[in-house]
Amino acid sequence: MKKYKFLILRRIIQLSFLLLFAGGNYFGWEILRGNYSSAIIADSLHLSDPYAVLQILVSGFIASSSVLLGALLIFLIYALIGGRMFCSWICPMNIITDIAFRLRRIFKIETEAKVSVSRNLRYYVLALSLIVSAVFGMAAFEIISPISMLHRAIVFGSGAGWAIVAVVFFVDLFVLKAGWCGHICPLGGFYALVGKQAVIKVKHDKEKCTHCMDCFDVCVEEPVLDIVGKKSDFIRSGACTNCGRCIEVCHDNAMKYSLKFDLKK
């Protein structure tokens, strides 16, 4: 069980958000209403997706103050504290892509040799999304986002969004390992840039490491583990989603959640 403690906790949190949003729609619960783009807690506090708001601003509309403040709040939470935790602890798409990732390991589906895509692609997609938003005058990623389609499919019970979610799943499964979350998703890229200097980071202890490579096996952002077994330090890359899989699979206690306060590169 210890091997899955963070995984189980993450799933509970992810599913709770979905449940609260869906309950807000179907049963009128007031705890959390709206969806991951913009929500309101207990009918009083607005929260908004800072990347969505950025696209709205770029498209040429000054969003209302409640949305701007809500986006700022979320931005600060991830920039200062959580890093890229949205991706692994909140985002519902993570459940889908993690299943694909797990199935690849179980069925030994290996396509890395044939398909090689730079993990920096997401930053280019991010930049392009802002250009397209400005040119076409509407939030570009929000219109085609598989994440939005997934949570709308669940929260609002719309059926058509599942097709694109299935595409993401099968691409992840048969074409590109960690394709969506690790290579393409501009929202992930956004939080990777935003959360680079956040306080919560995974810390590696080289002295304890026995080079078993278990952490590399489970990590969806493998390159962030480049220091493992080489030096004791934080996993400093913003791309690390703080999912904690490496911590729970490590037999040597060489990984742990820790707080980072320096601003080294």
Partner: protein, 258 residues
């Protein structure tokens, strides 16, 4: 040091990515908004601004007590995740507390659009669209007594009135003809839902699709307010234009005498 060849290669790759990617992305946005028209909730900004502003959180849809509002799905041809309604299925019942407009966090639905000048917002000021009557398929215009839309209209005798006309065909009956008044009509679509025709003979279109525009160069000479515009036009005109004679020549006696 990066070689020149490498730099040129990267620049070309970047251009292909931005150009190709942008084109595909733009195409999918166009495909996503290809519907001829769409009716938005009360207090919505103009469609172009609405598409920019809507953050697609669905809160307006959640609070709609009649399930009038729906979120667009892929394939609807309406921007994904934006709210809309189809009056023939479920019209807007004009809740006096305006829950949908009030719930919008982004400003895409704005209570300001529901208040005239400094007054309090009022749902009856909403302009979701304008009801249009197709006379040829309207039973009342056939001469058959119907009035379904008129009776259903939340602004009966204001947004829809009845005109009386002699039925020339029978020579002995009256036609009770529904007429929509665009200055009052909210575009709620209750009339469209009420219409007894197989395909509604009265239906709501967005304002820009249902309205015309005469143009500024026509002035209602019989309305004092409108006639003031003549003076404004004269002031605005270029110096080298002989505005006065242009205005006066129709009133000139010479024209009549010749």
């Amino acid at each position: 040091m990066v070689s020149r060849r490498k730099v040129i290669q990267r620049v070309l790759e970047g251009a292909v990515f931005v150009g190709g990617g942008g084109l595909i992305w733009g195409k999918s946005i166009k495909a996503n908004t290809k519907a001829d028209y769409v009716l938005r909730p009360p207090g919505a900004l103009k469609e172009k601004d609405f598409l920019k502003a809507c953050i697609k959180c669905g809160q307006c849809v959640e609070v709609c007590p009649y399930d009038t509002l729906k979120l667009a799905e892929p394939g609807d041809g309406i921007a994904n995740g934006t709210p809309f309604f189809e009056p023939r299925t479920i019209p807007c019942y004009l809740c006096t507390d305006m829950p949908c407009t009030d719930s919008c966090p982004s400003g895409a639905l704005d209570l300001k659009n529901l208040s005239k000048e400094e007054e309090k917002p009022d749902i009856m000021n909403s302009k979701m669209g304008l009801a249009v009557i197709h006379k040829e398929s309207c039973l009342a215009y056939w001469g058959i007594r119907c009035e379904a839309c008129y009776r259903a209209c939340p602004l009966i005798d204001k947004a829809i009135t009845l005109d009386y006309e002699v039925n020339k065909r029978t020579g002995m009956h009256a036609k009770l003809l529904p007429v929509v008044h665009s200055d009052v009509c909210t575009g709620c679509g209750v009339c469209e839902q009420a219409c007894v025709a197989e395909k509604a003979a009265i239906f709501v279109l967005p304002l820009d699709k249902a309205t015309g525009k005469v143009g500024d160069h026509y002035i209602k000479g019989w309305e004092k307010e409108d006639e003031k515009r003549i003076n404004e036009e004269v002031e605005k005109a270029d110096d080298d234009k002989d505005v006065k004679s242009a205005i006066d020549y129709l009133n000139d006696d010479d024209l009549i005498e010749d």
